[in-house]
């Protein structure tokens, strides 16, 4: 695998994850528990779309086949997507949506922290732009997880269920493979496995404040980063890509 082939895959992993998570979060629009949350969720979805545009545009550039960020988002099929399985999980209740957000935000903030020092300046520049937003996201999602975990007995029960349900999708974030090996060597990206200890520490602190128990079972679902997805992604793409697929070549 060449450096650019590996970088292309890595950028898709970043950009597809923010794209699909943004899609899921935007499904809340108009349906949140309070207006402040409607605003905050729309804001999160919007930030994630902005990040997607940066990552996928660079992916297209690195690939060198003239594909734009929109081409990549709208004209690939399921098997070409490289997002984490975690982000395609259905929203569930508000607590589950925020739990998924926090588990992802915690990872992304650590990943971006390392990418700030990437040997590829284009990657470092995007990480710089995204890291301020993500610092805010992780603070907010952590705060909500704590508030609901340590809220009423009902909110506690729901948050524990959310954590138990999503935890098997956490491990995939830290799996390293041949793509990572190439990028580690040239100093573009960190070994994802190396982020685990800091992630465990951050998530451990938040779950403690939230009075939630981290599941002991370490089973990990994998496949998203290499293109084997859950059944959900096909429906997400059917929605997302509808217009581009139904009216090929139209300008919008």
């Amino acid at each position: 695998m060449t450096r650019d082939q590996a970088l292309f895959q890595f950028l898709l992993r970043l950009g597809d994850s923010t794209l699909i998570l943004s899609h899921r979060v935007s499904e809340w629009c108009g349906h949140a528990p309070v207006i402040e949350e409607d605003i905050a969720l729309a804001n999160t979805a919007l930030d994630l779309i902005g990040q997607t545009q940066f990552w996928l545009e660079l992916a297209g550039e690195v690939e060198g086949k003239g594909r734009s960020a929109d081409d990549l988002a709208y004209l690939r099929d399921v098997w070409d997507f490289r997002n984490l399985l975690l982000v395609e999980r259905p929203n569930g209740d508000f607590g589950k949506t925020l739990m998924r957000q926090f588990l992802f935000d915690a990872f992304q903030s650590l990943m971006l922290g390392k990418l700030l020092k990437s040997s590829d300046k284009r990657v470092a520049d995007i990480a710089e732009k995204a890291s301020k937003e993500v610092a805010y996201h992780v603070e907010r999602s952590a705060g909500t997880v704590v508030g609901l975990g340590d809220g009423t007995p009902q909110s506690h029960t729901r948050m524990q269920a959310a954590l138990d349900d999503l935890y098997p999708y956490v491990g995939e974030m830290f799996v390293s493979d041949a793509v990572d090996a190439v990028l580690i060597k040239v100093g573009i990206a960190p070994d994802p496995a190396s982020l685990r200890a800091d992630w465990d520490a951050l998530v451990g602190r938040v779950m403690q404040d939230a009075t939630l128990d981290i599941p002991k079972d370490a089973f990990t679902h994998k496949g998203g980063k290499t293109g084997t997805h859950t059944e959900h992604l096909g429906y997400i793409l059917a929605d997302m890509q509808f217009l581009q697929r139904a009216y090929p070549g139209a300008e919008w």
């Binding site: 528990p33 804001n43 979805a45 909500t144 809220g151 729901r158 997400i236």
Partner: protein
């Protein structure tokens, strides 16, 4: 206009003789163009009417998220998706400012929301129409935000201070929404045959409902006089509707779209367009709950509120625990 057919409280405009000293002084301040502030004395009917009007406006912003939110996951490019997300986020923000303005009159946001859900308050009829193709998102920005601006620009001069100030903030964002909507319409109207058809279809369905946003014709508008005397309504429904048609027709011509009203025609003598009234029976049917989307809209809002109860309770319980913890800490020091 997001506040249609707001029932004015009271028995009609009083003559100076019928007014108490307080009422006379109040009316004099309004006539002098002064702003009324939350702590000032105001007639009960003025307060009640404003609560209805601002509350209805706030509810409209919130329910208005739904027809546009309907297309966020299907927006055709990342850029369009981002713009639409930002717009819908603005609308929720407008709802928030307006509920806050309403709270200065002594009614809480939760009470207002519960009144909406119980069918005791309304939101604009326009949001009971569906968004069926992508051009609807353009047409909503162009026509619906356009009509809203027409009304809200005048309300920047309304007599109640918090409402007037909320309007100033909101109007800036609404004109951005309108421009974005028109930009979608241009892409569609100047696009391929299918896109042109979508643009025309959206216009066909949304034209008359947009005219309804200004409320019934002046001759049937029973509530206007008192509200105008109080300056919580500045222009009449027909004045605003005329202004809207005059502004919109040249834009429609530029897009090369056909107005679904075959009678729309420039009238040199009046210096404005003649146009047909919308079907007022349909308008009243929509207000009574029989629009194409009333049931879906209310069901979605009620579900969001009920499903969110455990979240609101949980966050409140946590805030309460923190308060006790902090107080205990202070006491221990």
């Amino acid at each position: 206009m997001y506040a249609q057919m707001v029932k004015t409280a009271g028995t009609g405009v009083k003559t100076p003789d019928e007014m108490s000293d307080q009422e006379r002084a109040f009316q004099a301040r309004i006539d002098a163009g002064e702003k009324i502030e939350p702590r000032d004395w105001m007639p009960d009917d003025y307060r009640a009417t404003l609560i209805r009007q601002i509350g209805q406006h706030a509810h409209s912003e919130i329910v208005g998220q739904l027809p546009e939110g309907n297309w966020i996951t299907r927006a055709p490019t990342l850029e369009r998706k981002a713009i639409l997300l930002a717009k819908v986020q603005d609308e929720a923000g407008h709802g928030l400012y307006l509920y806050s303005a309403c709270e200065t009159l002594g009614v809480s946001r939760d009470e207002l929301i519960e009144m909406l859900h119980a069918g005791k308050m309304k939101y604009s009829s326009i949001f009971n129409y569906p968004t069926l193709n992508w051009a609807d998102i353009g047409a909503v920005g162009w026509l619906v935000d356009g009509a809203a601006i027409m009304n809200q620009v005048q309300l920047q001069k309304t007599s109640y201070g918090p409402y007037a100030r909320a309007m100033v903030r909101i109007c800036k964002e609404e004109s951005f929404h309108q421009r974005q909507g028109y930009s979608i319409m241009m892409k569609m109207a100047f696009g391929n045959a299918a896109q042109k058809a979508m643009a025309q279809d959206a216009l066909n369905r949304l034209w008359f409902p947009s005219l309804m946003m200004f409320g019934p014709p002046d001759k049937d508008s029973v509530h206007s006089t008192q509200s105008m005397a109080w300056r919580i309504k500045i222009n009449t429904n027909d004045e605003l509707r005329q202004r809207f048609v005059d502004q919109t027709m040249p834009q429609m011509k530029y897009l090369g779209l056909t107005c679904p009203d075959a009678n729309v025609k420039w009238n040199e003598d009046k210096g404005g367009y003649d146009y047909s009234d919308p079907d007022w029976d349909e308008f009243f049917a929509v207000l009574r709950g029989n629009g194409p989307c009333n049931k879906d809209r209310m069901a979605a809002r009620v579900k969001a509120w009920e499903d969110g109860e455990w979240v609101r309770d949980g966050l409140m319980a946590h805030a309460h625990k923190n308060k006790i913890k902090n107080a205990a800490q202070v006491a221990a020091e």
